[in-house]
């Protein structure tokens, strides 16, 4: 492992590490545009120049590998002057339209100009004009005048998705990013080019003009769009509630996790958050009798449910859990089922249309926690058997979590018969759907971004997601609702009286072997793999 000195700090790095990464490890930032750790080296922006002793002139850090005994300086007079010059070159033909540019506030031209530029502009001639506001596909829009030709987007489409939609056309200062003839940027990862674009050239059609980024807040989460569990940041608009059309969730951005999603996320997940602020969210517990809806307080709702549960024998109760629920939710549910002696519990409701899968990130299973449900033991029943039990009136209380059974892989006639066959249908979930519309008791769950917890991805990695926004209306985390029901039913399990997700997790780690030895905080940002 080469040992080198960067700005007087000695650092030992893995062989093959370039000087940008080596400097990062030494706590030194080398500014750069075209370099991206997930892409090949282009060496085009020329911003990452550093001085290496015994070299006659500055070298680009991205294409220089750390070598033993190398002495690197990133703050010499000529490096600083070179950076300043390169910044001026990057901005010579830039339109400087920050006031109307979505990237403003998170633009690396702005950031680096302030850190490394600060020259007096000398360009007085007409700038080069290029196409503006060009849609490249369903999600991405191009402003070629803002583009600094770093080629990250081109390399992403060549190297990561291998779809090759983008190229750089023309020459010199007329160079511009564009689509090859007949192509559209509609691969399932197209949104990533917006993330890796360091400037305002590629912006998000969904996010565009919705909210200035300096009004956004950020929370760490896990995408709930499929079994991969991509690490994400949830960006929320709360400081200017009238922006973003009043919606709290402004956008999702991938968060680097080398073991799960690297730097990327798919468009299915990225643009799949609309339901969280949708009008279809359930805001308060609801009792529905004879076609009339009555809002309930939580105490009443929990009592109503507990009384209903008590009316039936355990074999007359069927529970359809959801792999959208967190490990904590599922664990408390499992404890509750055990307390009641209910065996008909399952999470395997088939989707109406099986999801498409690719070899990059997206999984066919569009649920974030199938593996957790399996490991916690919620597949003891038989989902179809539960449905049939209700149809045949053997199951009298049907407790459905999240699923819209009427929009599932089961024949709607069978579902309708089951929902009609059960004496009591309880629906618990964040959003209303056709199934909840027919339920006798509806309990509003907090969406995953409105509470914290963990998901177990298909590889068995347990990952934390955090509370990003407060629950809408009266909604509560499923584990909390289930705990209240458990207590109302006289359960003494500590899981029923947990006050925080962390406490539930501790119980889970203590009782489910796959999770043994894990601690909630010990999961940190990278997550941890369950025991095989």
């Amino acid at each position: 492992m080469p040992k080198l000195t960067i700005d007087g700090k000695e650092v030992e790095v893995a062989a093959g590490t370039n000087l940008i990464e080596a400097a990062r490890q030494a706590g030194v930032e080398v500014p750069h545009y075209c370099y991206h750790p997930g892409l090949s080296i282009a060496g085009q922006c020329r911003l990452c120049m550093v001085d290496i002793e015994k070299n006659p002139r500055p070298q680009i850090g991205c294409n220089t590998q750390a070598a033993d005994g190398m002495v690197v300086h990133t703050q010499t007079e000529r490096v600083l002057e070179t950076r300043k010059s390169i910044m001026e070159f990057h901005l010579v033909n830039h339109p400087l339209d920050c006031p109307v540019c979505d990237q403003a506030g998170e633009c690396w031209l702005q950031i680096y100009y302030m850190r490394h530029g600060l020259y007096d502009p000398r360009m007085v001639d007409e700038k080069v004009h290029k196409p503006k506001a060009v849609p490249l596909g369903p999600h991405v829009i191009l402003d070629a005048e803002r583009c600094i030709l770093c080629s990250r987007c081109v390399r992403f489409c060549d190297e990561v998705t291998k779809t090759g939609e983008l190229g750089i056309f023309n020459r010199g200062d007329h160079s511009e990013i564009g689509l090859f003839p007949g192509k559209t940027l509609e691969n399932n990862y197209s949104g990533n080019v917006i993330d890796i674009c360091p400037v305002g050239a590629l912006t998000d059609r969904d996010f565009r003009f919705q909210v200035r980024v300096w009004y956004l807040d950020t929370g760490r989460s896990i995408c709930n769009g499929c079994a991969r569990g991509c690490n994400v940041e949830v960006h929320t608009s709360r400081r200017r509630p009238h922006h973003n059309q009043g919606r709290r969730i402004a956008r999702l951005k991938p968060r680097h996790n080398p073991d799960v999603n690297q730097w990327w996320m798919c468009d299915v997940g990225r643009y799949g958050f609309g339901w969280i602020d949708d009008d279809s969210r359930l805001l308060a517990p609801l009792r529905r009798t004879g076609g009339a809806d009555a809002a309930l307080g939580w105490d009443e709702a929990v009592t109503a449910l507990a009384e209903a549960v008590k009316r039936y024998r355990p074999e007359e109760i069927g529970i359809l859990a959801s792999p959208q629920m967190s490990n904590e939710d599922l664990f408390v549910l499992q404890r509750l089922a055990a307390h009641l002696g209910v065996a008909a519990v399952d999470h395997r409701v088939p989707p109406r249309v099986p999801g498409e899968e690719d070899d990059l990130l997206l999984r066919a299973d569009r649920n974030p926690n199938r593996r957790g449900a399996e490991l916690i033991g919620l597949g003891t029943g038989d989902a179809r058997g539960i449905l049939d039990g209700a149809r045949q009136r053997r199951i009298k209380l049907l407790w459905i979590f999240q699923h819209d059974l009427l929009d599932s892989g089961w024949p709607p006639a069978d579902v309708t018969a089951a929902l009609a066959g059960a004496e009591m249908v309880v629906f618990q979930g964040p959003s209303a759907n056709a199934t909840s519309a027919g339920a006798h008791l509806v309990l509003p769950s907090a969406a995953y971004v409105e509470r914290e917890g963990t998901f177990t991805n298909f590889q068995g990695r347990v990952q934390r997601f955090r509370t990003v926004v407060e629950p809408l209306g009266e909604a509560q985390a499923d584990w909390a609702i289930l705990g209240r029901v458990g207590r109302a039913l006289g359960g003494a399990d500590p899981a029923f009286s947990a006050g925080r997700a962390e406490q539930v997790f501790a119980g889970l780690a203590g009782q489910v072997p796959a999770f043994s030895g894990m601690s909630y905080r010990g999961l940190r940002d990278a997550g941890q793999a369950v025991k095989a």
């Binding site: 020329r46 010059s85 390169i86 070159f89 001639d125 750089i168 020459r171 010199g172 200062d173 160079s175």
Partner: protein, 416 residues
Amino acid sequence: MAEKIFTRNFDRAGSHTLAVYRETGGYTALAKALRMEPPAITEEVKKSNLRGLGGAAFPTGVKWSFIPKGSTAPKYLVINADEGEPGTFKDRYLMERDPHAMIEGMIIAGRAIDSRLAFVYIRGEYVKPWQIVSGAVKEAYEAGLLGKNIQGTGFDFDIVVHRGAGAYICGEETGLLSSLEGKKGWPKIKPPFPAIKGAFGQPTIVNNVETIAAVPHIINRGGEWFAGLGTKTQGGTRLYSVSGHVVRPGVVEAPVSVTLRSLIYDQCGGMRDGRKLKAVVPGGSSAPILTADEIDVTMDADGLKAAGTMIGSAGVIVMDETVSIPEALMVVARFYAHESCGQCTPCRESTGWIYKMAHRIVEGKGRKEDLDTILDVAKRGAGTTICAFYDGAVGPYVSYIEKFRAEFEALIPHEA
């Protein structure tokens, strides 16, 4: 008058044919080289002090020796026939009038570097050279000089003639390789260098047409003979493409030790119409300009380097007193702005910017700070890019203004 080597056949009828080439000793060097051990060929070329005649003047034998020893990877020889440097037209003459010299040199070089496949990358505008070279390659195949088991020696060697599409940057060695690979003609970042990882990711040597055409003569008559024709650090004669206001412009062969003055006044008949010499660009448009007082320099790589300019492609552009240097700069700046590949930011952005300033000055709309801005921008961008294109552009930007500043200032309106 010194012996003609490259041009010895130029005036013979049918000099591009195999038969005429053979009449003057053609392919005897190949026969000799096929009996030599490959390292001995490289050694002979090293001894000759042959330096790259395309622009960079790198020692050819040394370049060949960069091919990794004992590598079993396919190795490629690529001939740079993309002659695009403004003011340069010597390779065109060589390909039209003596294509077999290049082909023979290629086979010998191929043997030296253990290559079995070579490419000739000819600029798209060179239709006639392309036709003649293609015909000569065909003739060589028919005569068993190319293909499998050449002359019964067990050595296989193929040549593919490939046309470029007309971009100056494709004359840059790695831009050429990108283009040859079917990609946009963007120079590649180094390392890796082409001798390690060049065309199609394999060890590759790129040589200029004239450079490779010198090889048969070196093999036939020995490296020492060739070295003796030139200076201490550069052997041989070479072809100077002389254009501009001389009495007899054209391709002139002379020893590399010839002075610029001799080239203009002895070889090319002096200045046209009795006018006065004003300036000379000695090595293609990228070479810094020399004033009329600076022409007592030898026209070898090191002589011109000492004079603050470069031999480049030996395209000698002679300008008389009627030439406006600011206009000349504007024309050159327009060329570089148009031809910058756009890959590296400093080159992409500042070539266009400098052209706009130069244009404005010529239009009489210059500002007094423009000249210093051009000089500063040019110097700041120099040495910061992947390839030498920008440093080439900086040559004229800086030298034209520094040596003829008063002429520029005269065009800039005085502020009221």
